[in-house]
Point group: C2
Chain length 455, copies 2
């Protein structure tokens, strides 16, 4: 399968101008709300924060008096095109959810479906203040195309089921995933990063995981996989390999390259030490865990062990949406509740997990903070809404009462992906229509369903 | 303290017209999404659902093709004016939250503050599809005024601390609460209902609770109280009274009148039987429980015992907002997670808890369903948003991915409280300004905070 790099015409143009956001409130790298600040952006990076820099001649000035600037969010584990099966498998136990619904629908999946499903996901993520996502799915060339066009950033991995050295489960060979990693690495002005996507230690043999490690080392790429999702998986791994899933994967060398592990719901202290020592990023997706009745990891314990926990939605078929605002909120609420500790996971920490830790997980080291020299990845909230009043604590409003509709502008590398509530670089109206049409076809729903709703 | 009934000029006018909502999708009383329906509304009630009734001459026709109609929501336990301390006490353990923050701010509370704080709450509730609320607070005449003006419905109780027969803790006498119950009962065309509001069995002596029961029987009114919020309270009650809080309150006769019990987080099977037999409505507020690290009740077990569980936010100082959409979502997610049962609390049941069970808790028997003869209390969602696509299951979208900004129209007794996203009967812009100004004064924040944000 070919992995065409993007044509220049297919890439959203690089930001080259100078933007000044005046008199804005912002969340500082220390997590403090600072008022009446100026943010000067030059090209793709933040040039200054605080005072207006001398001699800075902006091409555009944005009045920030009613806005709050926060570091834009990064969704650390996602199957973006699963927007197509959102709402198609409700209130079902996990095995029925998967076997009777998701796999049946996905058996009809085409690469065009992935393109439109991921385009829908891109619109939804941008609208909720997210500029980057770690995607793990099929037909990833088409997801890369969406990233190039949308102006977003992404870490992309072709999901690979390595159940034997010669098998091509799921329709693709290891060579295809390798070619994808190599071909798209650094594309779209560096906004696309690629890595290997072995599904998990229970869907990949030790041999296959070794193969992944060797290829990743050779290409200087990382890995993104599902890990330790349930107590059952841990028991099975101990029985088969004499190690926990985390220990097993580490022993096979997978953590010698940059690693992103989705979930890690069931972990021992030894596991946490391995994850911390190897600087593995862990993607935490609490809405999916609750909706599918999976185990909930003890997030504060992970953080206490210096594990880098980022936030994620997982796919919209389980999570219902792609809204990291809600994931921040749920992470805080659930951990406070489970630990019976209202001071657990304070607001600044939740915001850092959604932004800086997410950027780390995706490999965008200069993103995740509003500071001179950082990438100009900024989400601007409109603070005028009824549910924001009184404005005692704007950061608390973001985490505990804001909604995607409060996101007014989104900048990625200094370019507007959302401006005044409108998606700038994608044809959202067409995407809504095309994605919905394909989603109905996939599940065998009558087309009148589409026609009866004007798009 | 006087309890003036409302002047006619102060009451939002009764709906008298005929409205036809054409080609709308709706959630039926059975919880099923039905498409291409007509809803005919005559005055305050629903005249017909399904076909357009013969001879019905509407004054207005609403195009429903992009809308989903659901029974409007009822917030079963709330301290509305606590919008004023939203965001003022974050990430603190309960005792510090209460003693160092909330009580300090509330010590400066005036009756005007309550009026503006409750007005802000009314706007926020209407914007999230809620038409009724059970309020339990101070200066309740002023809350009643807000209900009259806003067009909403409410069950209002003056919070009373009955720690001794002659004590007037909290500044009001029992006679004041009694006068309030009597004076406002049925006001504003029946949209205002009143009841007694003894704080809780731990803040009211048995003597005081008996007094409440006698007065409630005499006036034909009910009670609304906090009950069994923690295991500690249960232990204390067993020690002092030889009964659980539920058993204790029942033995004092309080369940012989219509009763609304907030929380019931820690309950025995015997408690559940008492609650069910006496048809006590239980208000469930999971966001507050998690945010303040309180115990979480086993909702499905309550429902299995036929206890009428309604949904609630509690006050915005603990809940951060007044959004029942989120409470539905959290109720489903948390119970699925806690029980490790993805099929727990299906979507239709969550919607019923937010609407019909809430209407029952407040005493509005004809509300909570879209059916001929029912009160025309309807929330209309715009289904065009990005996060609604594909529209496989509109009810799932409401519960698991919708936001207040998706609520386009809200009808209460056939009258628009929200039309095309605008509050119709209240001066929202002034409310935002006045409420914020008072909130900043209460917490001693500098007034520049207000002035620096244009309202």
């Amino acid at each position: 399968m070919a992995s065409p790099r993007t044509e220049p015409a297919d890439i959203a143009p690089k930001a080259t101008g100078r933007l000044l956001i005046r008199d804005v409130s912002l969340v500082s790298p220390a997590g403090v709300v600072e008022r009446n600040q100026h943010i000067a952006i030059d090209g793709t990076a933040i040039a200054a924060v605080g005072e207006e820099p001398e001699g800075f001649q902006p091409d555009e000035i944005l009045d920030g008096r009613e806005l709050l600037a926060v570091p834009a969010f990064f969704n650390a584990h996602c199957h973006a095109a699963m927007t197509l099966t959102r709402g198609w498998a409700e209130d079902l136990p996990f095995d029925r959810w998967l076997n009777e619904r998701i796999w049946v629908a996905e058996s009809a999946l085409t690469e065009d479906d992935v393109y439109w499903g991921a385009s829908l996901a891109a619109c939804e993520m941008i609208r909720s203040g997210t500029v980057g996502f770690a995607d793990h799915y099929f037909y990833m060339d088409r997801v890369a195309q969406v990233v190039a066009q949308s102006g977003m950033k992404a870490l992309l991995a072709w999901c690979w089921f390595g159940l034997g050295p010669d098998k091509e489960v799921g329709g693709i060979s290891f060579a295809t995933t390798e070619q994808f990693v190599e071909s798209w690495q650094g594309d779209a002005e560096g906004r696309i990063r690629t890595c290997f996507g072995p599904h998990s230690p229970y869907m990949c043999s030790p041999q296959a995981l070794k193969q992944v490690h060797e290829a990743a080392e050779r290409l200087g790429a990382g890995v993104h996989l599902h890990l330790s999702e349930s107590g059952e998986q841990v028991q099975q791994s101990l029985k088969e390999h004499g190690r926990t899933p985390v220990g097993h994967v580490a022993a096979l060398g997978l953590f010698a390259v940059p690693a992103l592990a989705a979930h890690c719901n069931c972990v021992t202290d030894d596991d946490l030490e391995i994850l911390a020592r190897n600087r593995v990023a862990v993607a935490h997706a609490p809405k999916t865990y609750m909706k599918l009745a999976m185990d909930m990891p003890p997030v504060e314990r992970l953080l206490a062990h210096d594990v880098r926990v980022a936030l994620a939605t997982d796919g919209p078929a389980s999570n219902a949406d792609l809204n990291l605002l809600e994931v921040m909120r749920l992470t805080g609420l659930v951990q406070k509740g489970l630990q019976a500790k209202a001071e657990a996971l304070p607001i600044a920490q939740l915001m850092r997990m959604a932004s800086r830790n997410g950027a780390y997980a995706l490999g965008f080291a200069s993103s995740g903070k509003i500071a001179p020299g950082a990438a100009a990845d900024i989400t601007l909230f409109d603070t005028r809404g009824t549910h924001w009043r009184p404005r005692h604590d704007l950061a608390a409003s973001v985490v505990y009462s804001s909604h995607p509709a409060d996101v007014r502008h989104v900048l990625c590398d200094g370019r507007f992906l959302l401006r005044d509530g409108r998606i700038t670089l994608l044809d959202e109206e067409r995407i809504l229509y095309e994605a919905e049409k394909r989603a109905f076809r996939m599940v065998g729903a009558p087309m009148e369903r589409v026609r009866s709703y004007p798009s």
